[in-house]
């Protein structure tokens, strides 16, 4: 008999909403034509209409025009297209790009490959994960063509001041890209208000399907095509459009309400409070409004993260850790390291990310289970209880 599982890894991916599932189904079984057949047959026209509707709904949500949104296979492709696409299309203007040390790997790894043709500045962050706007301003030179700063951090939920970053970039005449995968729906996001030129979006972080995402590209901003082939997506991204994905993406955006965020934030604060009562618990990242509504990240001193997550899994609770033992690169979380935390702190960090499908009872159980597991691991540790250590 398996107990009810408690899923707290929603920053990785979320459950597809039933409404989303329902909206997508006909596009697998009935309306399966491709959108580019609109000039030949009726099913093609229907497909094109569905795609246009989805595009319009998502664009409207972020204050953009429909033709400014390119559908992609997800946030990773959007980040690749934004960085490499904008860099190579604008290389005559300059060869300098600015990003941060705490970006998702789908920004950091493209930046690493861009290093062969461009110089890249990686901005520092403070103990809570915020960039220093003065450092950003000081880093912009005549050579700078692009600034890429995430809206929300994937590990500690830090919300950057993208309005202020957008204002600075706009003033200095450089393009501003933001990885908004974890912001869409969860937080107000308006490309006009924040002077955003490029924004990466993802469907499966807000109860949409995997394999669907998009890149907002402000009208007039040049990007170089990465995937070549037919004339899809305004000739900027070839490949048959994922119409069920786009339809599901739009539905997910449509039904994600600000009340959902508020509900999750209440759960978050309660969980945080409960977990911080555990001996030797330390919060990673900021508190309050400047933290993603669904993110809790806490280090439990002297309890190694991978061991904690496995024990919690045995109790039916799904969370992840920033421990090197968990990472495939055997390195501790680059985000926690950039925040100036110790290796040990990273090794004992646990991330809980919530969604509107979580209940207060589930989180109560998760907090209690965490306390038990941490206590158990400390009992077998040569370092004993936190007060006795160091």
């Amino acid at each position: 008999m398996e107990q009810e599982r408690i899923y707290l890894d929603n920053a990785a991916s979320t459950r597809v909403a039933p409404e989303v599932m329902e909206a997508m189904l006909p596009y697998f079984t009935e309306h399966y034509a491709v959108a580019s057949s609109q000039f030949s047959h009726t099913p093609g026209i229907q497909a094109k209409e569905a795609l246009d509707r989805a595009r319009g709904a998502i664009a409207a949500k972020i204050g953009a025009q429909p033709e400014e949104l390119i559908f992609t296979s997800g946030g990773t492709e959007a980040n690749n297209l934004a960085l490499k696409g904008a860099a190579y299309a604008n290389r005559k203007k300059g060869k300098h790009i600015i990003t941060t040390k705490v970006e998702h790997l789908s920004v950091l790894h493209p930046c690493r490959s861009l290093e062969k043709d461009f110089s890249i500045t990686y901005l520092d962050v403070d103990r809570e994960g915020f960039i220093d706007l003065t450092q950003l301003e000081d880093s912009i030179t005549d050579e700078t063509i692009l600034v890429s700063v995430q809206a929300v951090n994937q590990e500690v939920g830090t919300i950057q001041d993208i309005k202020e970053i957008g204002r600075i970039c706009h003033e200095r005449g450089v393009l501003f890209h933001t990885d908004a995968a974890l912001a869409l729906g969860w937080l107000p996001l308006n490309v006009q208000e924040a002077n955003i030129d490029l924004a990466s979006l993802s469907a499966h972080k807000l109860h949409g399907p995997k394999g669907a995402g998009g890149l907002y590209v402000r009208q007039g901003v040049k990007i170089k095509e990465m995937i070549e082939g037919g004339y899809n997506e305004f000739d900027r991204r070839a490949g048959t459009e994922n119409i069920p994905g786009a339809v599901g993406f739009a539905k997910a955006v449509e039904i994600f309400k600000s009340e959902d965020s508020q509900y999750v934030q209440k759960l978050r604060d309660r969980l945080m409070e409960r977990l911080l009562q555990i001996e030797g618990a330390e919060l990673n990242g900021p508190k309050g409004e400047r933290r993603h509504p669904g993110n809790v990240n806490i280090s439990f001193r002297f309890a190694e993260g991978e061991a904690v997550t496995l024990h919690l899994d045995m109790k039916g609770i799904a969370v992840i850790t920033g421990s090197a033992c968990f990472s495939r690169a055997l390195e501790p979380s680059h985000v926690l390291m950039a925040m100036g935390l110790t290796h040990e702190r990273a090794h004992s960090s646990i991330r809980y990310t919530l969604s509107r499908y979580n209940t207060p009872e589930e989180l109560e159980r998760a907090a209690e289970a965490t306390g038990e597991v941490v206590e158990r691991l400390r009992q077998i540790s040569p370092m004993g209880e936190p007060e006795g250590g160091r």
Partner: protein, 213 residues
Amino acid sequence: MPLPYTEKVMDHFMHPRNLGQIEEPDAVATMGNPACGDMIKLYLKIDEGTKRITEIKFESYGCASNIATASITTEMAKGKTLEEAKKIGWKRADEELGGLPPVKIHCAVLAIDALQMAIENYEHQHGLLKVKVPTDEKVAIKRLKHVIDPKSGREILQANLVKDVAVADGRVRVELNLPRDYQFASALEEEIRERLEPLWDVREVEVPFVGED
């Protein structure tokens, strides 16, 4: 089970054997450091006549692989003579567990190193060494391998934190290129002592912090 671990690994992780401390152990070894995530402390009780390991216990601050390997290692070593126990390597422990994912082997190595270090420490202190190599700078430096600076996560030797090592009349002096008020000063000093004090001809260990404040 969808986890990357065998049932035996999970069993030893969830229900570790020989967990805890031994009061007045005959040999102890600590390997690893909180900085690298994994740390293990091993305690042995050894029969002086038969040279058999009569009791063995461990404590671990580590991941599943570390805990599971330590647990199985204690089972494998219990009741063995020191000579038999010396032959237990990480490959045998890994086989016994049904195979760890390759990326986790280094966690297993730590547990085995602790066992071997504990045996070595015992031999040093009980005059059991076949060849009594006198401790010199080279021997001392070798023992300091894998001592890790908790702040940077790097080995102190590689990070050039060891300014000088001097050995004279059973006294070892390890000068560290770190200030006295260094955050991890006492942890580092303790670890260095644990490495050097068991050596058969070492009577005293000094660890001055000579870096600028």
